[in-house]
Symmetry: D2
Subunit: 412 residues, 4 copies
């Protein structure tokens, strides 16, 4: 008698293959689910592997377009960046993946979902909060937090032995001495030899971007057009080539950014569970977009609106990092940020070169930039005398403060 | 009979030379004051020029060391950045310059101070708020806001004519079609042909940094050592060369950054007076320090302390930009930020290359990074089962929200 | 020849009557405008007085309903409170009054508007920012900031003499030794004998509320029903009497609050121009609503949404106080706050008694309160063991901090 | 053989008496610890009871003075208030109690601590985070989260039976149909019949304050003197009586507040674990101090410093509520707030009457209030013309916004 049905987030790798078999051993019917969010993967092979290991059903889902439009675009609008540096490429993929997993679970009548995320990381939280938010009654099987499982599989050697014993194909190439996570937005690298925060990352680590040293010796100049805070077109200025669907735009920016080594960072960050960890990320297209969006936003948005929006963006990034995409507060903040983007429209020209993005110029039909007003050569509708009053009134408080301090100093 | 004594912030250029003579015409005794804050300038020539134009006294003051230690260092601690991009090189110099001007005014018994800042910019505010804060009774003469002055000198041609008439040496080289402001921290470029936000900056604009395209084809690797959030030593890893006084450290970082084209930005920003303006900045050493400090700070500071400190840093940047260095709130925030930096200590290794700064690794005796705790290979003092409870409790609120929405959806 | 037409915000009092005549003397055609925002006033008499003093046209506008619906209601939604105490009764009236004044100016083809606000206060700013925002080309005549005017009318005696000379009816009752401002939301008292912050306010100052000492010895119990964060009905529980239009609801709450002495405060506050001033306010209905709304909001809104909304509310209160109702940022924030109120719905029971508002109970069809979940007697869908993991994970960071400090302590 | 030593937070009541015996049954040596933080309690009887039940050692600790000085005072400085209403009387006691418990555990060589807090509440978190922060290796026994315990003691009846069986004295008076928590700062009431948020609290619930209806018909007027943001003296103005040690001051304010029914609230709040709960609180002295401190703070603190401090205070209140008193961020914030209080000094006069606190006046040697500057009758060192420039410059941005919108409207 089956204990019930589990929808397992399956990658095709050693870990989740073992989990698949282990779940069957434990008495569950297992449906595997593999999301295509832009990672390099042999999806057919993964499908066959899952079937051969006894999956009751196998789902391979292409989520790339919705990943860009519903998850990456709002993050671009928000200028979402965690702890001033990390563009949240892994974080933003998790709710997208888990949402589909929950849809499958509901549709297949599964009471359980399972995943292979570790017990020390952020991903377990991002996956599970999404699951609980969208399917509150769901039960989650997280083997790496179940003592019988993690005590049995202490090291990779134990998994290998288990695999051999259960006819699970064992990887022939040796595992890289770090772990990675890839999707359309980025690749992250952590663990293993990277755990020593002092040691430099090996030069051959990066898969998505060229080394800046080996990148072309002349820049590519792009023009990105925005509407409501999201890109609607990217054009290679010299070649005249352009892209205008979300997935095409983002993929092209990845290509350009990758070619020029854009978007590599090596950081120590603070996990939600309270520990610091070292991560290396490459986010080529996301980095270009971050800079381009920032430029058009500052150009078109009122200063004080932007100040408030900036604060909301910081909060949004924390929610995203911590796994709260599907939360009332994140829905609220996304709504507010979206509202702030109504006039964020126009074109930005930039060059990508040797790991860097350079903004070159911008234009917009909705800009609050007023060339005549700001000009040093014409006066425009501006009376410089007003500035005297402005400064004097701003100084009232400062002079009072000085007066008080003076009084006290003279007394003592 | 003299109307009184004015201390004029004098640059040696055409504008302030005309102001000097005009102030004398108006009946003031004029003391000129020129601060050396690291700009390239012939200070001797400026001195002679001022004397020849009738300055009662001439002060040339080397403020470079105090500029670095008392103004740049607190900005580094704060990760001060305006509107996510501008490192505030001009803003941070103003209170430093004006403070000395006020000291001179008090010491010389001058009731007036004067400057050549325009009536549309931020600098007039930064100068004058500092003056009012430190010398509340001072009177400020800002010729570019006095109708008799600015209506007389509508264009550069009027200044040139006035200069010729009054024996003021007229510059022989044609003026660049933009204005610039230089100090140890940066050079800014604005106005003139740069006022069109769409047009690209000319390649020959930059004076402090090499073009990334012409920069060396191999990186320089530096190690910067921090204590209490400020650099105490920089070492060129390969050459073994090192610097350890604030001014030397900062100058060396400028040299390294300049050599590799680090720190160029082209932005539109929001001025305090409410208009948008376009500015181009190059901040070589400041950019390197910004990245290095961010890295060591995240490595050594508790996550939640940093979150609060980050908010204070955003406020600090606004105060600095708007000219409120000498305000009760800025003093308060500097105190708090300084407190937050107590454990920000350690060494960061980084490379500078083709306009970019790459963090390579870091170490610290005070890090909160715990390699064993975070390791995927050892369990450390951490029970993965705890994460289940953590996630479940975090989900309580999300599930309630879903429940309520579900109820409503089913009703309607 | 007329210099043009001025729309003067006219109160019928001595000051604005003198301004009316003075503006005529200065060569302007004067249209007077008096807004009825709920103050006690003889509008007919004011009309006749303006006409007799030579007003070209006289507008008396009943703005009470729009004042409640478009200005007070959003402030209730925002829980707008300045510096933790002041409910902004004067601030919120200003954009309402000035908006209509601008409509009249446009409609009458007037290039000028004028008001009698002093040069040290907030109201001049609130009026004028609204005018500039809605009618950027307008010119503003603020006599109390024009030297020829304020040097001529140094004291009340000068106004009296001018009035007598120009046939302006002179008030027969002596002026109270303070100034006041009244509208539907509140009455404020300041200046004169109140300028000494130490002296107690006289007992007979208050006009809108009974002294708590003289208030009834038994409470009135009210039930207020909210929808989308604004009251849609108030019921006197015992009497069964109820009101359900915005103006009626607010007026009834004023009556009830006034009867019981609710909403008196005596504070020192910080004006926008940078000085501290002492103000005494009575806000009977607004105080009741503040408490009732807070209660239903906390009952129905998610904790984290509320936290963000609270921050927006603080910003909104500052904007409102400083006169930025018609600004891009205030429009943005009002939109966000309005969004947050979607589920703020339900009924609050409260009693008003001797100056105080007591919340007694609340109910809502949209509450996130889950009696079973929170109950100490039933377990509900909650596993107490989860709390252990939650606490342990929250402690990870604290234990690390202690570990690091311990290391350092043991070293030193 | 003993499993080890437990320090149990013991109240003398039925629950913790059963826990004491149960822990012994489980094989632990039990040390009981009862903190006197101002609750009404027969400490001698509790001592004897613990001894008779087999406690190895019994600690009764008078923490009242340190509770006021080290915990309540910083909360007063911070104006700590949770969700705009709750003065945190329970929250602030927890770290004080747990700190001493940990000191005893270390001193007695106990590896365990235990408490009787429930598994759905905040107190378990506040206790345990303090324990983990101060004694990271400690092990915590929380019986109400241990299935064997809570499944055995499902209702009060089970505890009664167990008590009878094990010679634990059973309370003779019936339990109130709610639970309460009392200390020097407040009494809280929740659970039982209060769990229905709609039902009104019974009139006889309150133990610390008189009903406002029964309170005296004339006010008491007090003068509270502050230094560095904490009260150093309270004087009954009429009686001339005064108190000047922290514990005496606070106790006297409790007496006065209690006499006049000050500080009762009935709220629904958001617990840290994500559920809403209903609580009723009475905080007589704390409420008086909250208002008095707010008044003297606004009187003496710069506007912008206070704005930043207000934000820090909101964060502090959340930390305190959630149990993070002993955390790096709370230590940091306490330091910053303490710094902000340097000039918060002076005297506030207020009256307490029928549940309400009325501020009457204030004075300070360090006030930033400038009676001449603010006066409507004298001009002081203030030029009203400056306000025109101030307003015009503040309007630049608003006019630009209008211009842009106008352009768009005219186009469409």
């Amino acid at each position: 008698m089956s204990k019930g049905t589990v929808v397992l987030a399956y990658s095709g790798g050693l870990d989740t293959s073992c989990i698949l078999v282990w779940l069957k051993e434990e008495g569950y019917d297992v449906i595997t689910y593999l999301a295509n969010i832009g990672q390099v993967e042999d999806f057919d092979a993964a499908k066959k592997k899952a079937e051969s290991l006894g999956a009751k059903k196998v789902f391979i889902e292409d989520l790339r377009a919705e990943f860009v439009e519903e998850f990456i675009w709002p993050s671009v609008q928000a200028s979402a960046i965690y702890e001033d540096r990390y563009l949240l490429g892994t974080s933003v993929a998790r709710p997208c993946i888990a949402r589909r997993q929950i849809q499958i679970a509901r549709q297949e009548g599964a009471q359980y979902v399972s995943h292979g995320a570790t017990g020390k990381g952020n991903d377990q939280i991002r996956f599970e909060l999404t699951c609980y938010a969208l399917y509150p009654e769901v039960q989650i099987i997280a083997p790496w937090r179940i003592p019988e499982f993690y005590n049995r599989f202490v090291g990779r050697k134990d998994l290998m032995e288990y695999a051999e014993k259960h006819g699970i194909p064992v990887p022939v190439t040796p595992k890289a001495p770090w772990s990675m996570d890839a999707n359309l937005m980025h690749i992250s690298y952590e663990s293993g030899i990277l755990e020593n925060p002092k040691s430099h990352a090996p030069a051959d680590l990066y898969l998505m971007t060229k080394s800046p040293e080996d990148a072309p010796n002349s820049p590519d100049v792009l023009e990105i057009e925005f509407k409501k805070g999201v890109p609607i077109k990217v054009t290679h200025v010299k070649e005249g080539k352009s892209k205008d669907t979300p997935l095409d735009i983002f993929s092209y920016l990845n290509e350009m950014g990758g070619r020029h080594g854009v978007g590599r960072i090596d950081i120590v960050e603070n996990r939600f569970i309270g520990m610091k960890s070292r991560g290396i990320y490459e986010t080529p297209g996301g980095t270009i977009l971050y800079h381009a969006h920032l430029d058009i936003e500052t150009f078109t948005m009122d200063r004080e609106v932007r100040r408030i929006k900036q604060g909301l963006g910081v909060k949004f990034a924390e929610m995203l990092y911590n796994g709260f995409w599907y939360s009332p507060e994140c829905e609220f903040v996304r709504h507010c940020i979206d509202k702030s983007q109504e006039s964020v429209e126009g074109k930005v020209q930039l060059s990508v070169f040797k790991g860097q993005v350079y903004i070159l110029g911008r234009e917009s039909p909705k800009s609050l930039y007023n060339e005549e007003l700001v000009s040093m050569d014409v006066q425009g509708d501006y009376d410089p005398c007003d500035a005297s009053g402005f400064i004097k009134i701003n100084a009232v408080r400062l002079r009072e403060h000085h007066r008080l301090q003076g009084e006290h100093h003279s007394k003592h």
